[in-house]
Amino acid sequence: MLPNLMQSLSSDVSMGMAQAAGAVILCLAVVLICRWFAVHVERETALSLLRGLVQMVFVGIVLALLLHRNALVGMLILLAMSFAAAVTASRRAQGLKDALLLCFYAIAAGAGVVIAGMLATGALKPDIAILVPVGSMIIANAMNACAQSIERFNADVTAHVGQIEAGLALGAEPAVTVAPYVQSAVYASLLPRLDMLKSLGLVWIPGVMAGMMVSGASPIYAGIYQFILVAMILAASGIAGLLVTVFIRKRAFSPAAQLTLRPGERHNPMVASGNTQ
């Protein structure tokens, strides 16, 4: 294992670090230009660059160590990534009970269904070197879809409290009163992924395709595979966005069908628990 790792840390790594230094210099130049326009992002950029580099080197080392391990290890890594994604997505739902758990369920379900489907059809090989990078792309997009759904749903509901309560006051089911906001939340989460699919090949040629071509795969197959991947990202995002919206829709109302997701009242434990018999 160690010799393999040392092999990975050979001349390729040195060259990669030199190239990374070039990329950092270019970013720092942009930061200086920004500073000239009184846009101060020096500290944030420096931290982000450092953090990004350390994280990617760490991931590279982990992958190098686990490269020939069982696919089950890869699954566990993806599960851990799903949890980390849920932590990030749940920050958009502060104050909502069980937000972390709900986001985890949604992301794990969205990414899990898609990865399982890809493994079953052979579109994805149970090899850690492929499974983890491809899986992480799917998880990251499911996370973004989750966060976008939550943010949109929260914004729409808190902006339409009167209309929702008018529906409740007429005896409507809570789900009926927020149906338009569920639709717009799921749509908002899918829109970037739909745009990504539409612009595929025209505006951008994604990294996986480029990587496959570099490693000698047929460009046509690489293109088709990239399409499959982006389509699967769309599917995972759709599942995650829909599930998390349905989960938080339920949490937006008390058991007595009262809207609790209202500006200033979300954190009120008395409202959430109610005075039910």
Partner: protein, 257 residues
């Protein structure tokens, strides 16, 4: 149902000169009537504030009770507890003697209808708005029933009008008709005329009074306007800092104001 509909603020509603006569008033011996709504030590507190504090009051069948008081006194908070749009943190409400927590919230809200300060109409036609409540119980309102309600709120021929074309006063009439379509036993009115100009406000007021008299409805109306309370209500309860400080026959409040 979809996103909010803007409500115009310059309504023009013509209405006849309105002056309720003394003969129009009903008996004032409310203690002798059956109790429609009773609150028992009703309270609601949020994190750092008590909105409604230990209110016990009885509203008799067919009575119109005004809830008055300064801004922030808890008038609307009290009203919202009556149809359980908000949860009481203490006490309860009895509807015809039955604890309202034993009634399913959706059925409770059908029986205790509410007209809000703003109309909050759903995008679409006037007819779709009026049919909304019964549709939630899988009941389809006939065209005739919708037209009859529109006639009653003085909006004949508005059946197919898009709600975005309505004035503020017209929207509030549709909101009233929409609530009445559920055939409620009790009508809650949360300052239904406060967002309207004087002419429209008088038109709505006259309309509401006519309907509750003709249907013998029990009504609780929140108002900051003492003259309006005097014109509409049989009794007025006065709130201050969420607490009931007085409940008197309307004439008494009228003098006090």
């Amino acid at each position: 149902m979809s996103h909010s509909t803007p409500i115009k603020s310059a309504p023009v509603i013509e209405c006849a000169e309105y002056a309720p006569e003394e003969a129009d008033r009903r008996p004032t011996d409310w203690a002798a009537q059956a109790i429609a709504v009773e609150t028992k030590n009703l309270s609601r507190a949020v994190v750092d504030k008590i909105l409604v504090r230990d209110i016990s009051v009885q509203v008799q069948k067919g009575e119109v009770l005004a809830v008055a008081g300064p801004s922030g006194a808890g008038k609307s908070s009290f009203l919202r507890l009556l149809n359980r749009l908000d949860e009481a943190t203490g006490g309860t409400v009895l509807l015809n003697g039955e604890d309202y927590r034993a009634i399913a919230p959706r059925e409770l809200r059908r029986r205790v209808g509410m007209v809000m300060q703003m109309a909050y109409l759903f995008p679409g036609t006037v007819a779709a708005n009026i049919a909304f409540g019964p549709l939630q119980r899988h009941e389809t309102m006939s065209q005739q029933a919708i037209e009859a309600l529109l006639d009653r709120v003085a909006l004949p021929g508005y059946h197919d009008r898009d709600v975005s074309t309505l004035s503020g006063g017209e929207a509030q009439r549709v909101s009233l008709a929409r609530t009445l379509a559920n055939s409620p036993e009790v009508l809650l009115l949360d300052e239904p005329t406060s967002a309207l100009d004087e002419a429209s406000a008088r038109g709505i007021e006259e309309l509401v009074l006519g309907i509750i008299r003709e249907r013998q409805m029990t009504c609780v109306i929140v108002t900051h306007n003492m003259q309006q309370a005097a014109r509409i209500a049989d009794r007025t309860m006065y709130l201050e800092a969420g607490k009931l400080v007085a409940i008197v026959p309307t004439n008494g409040v009228s003098h006090a104001a």
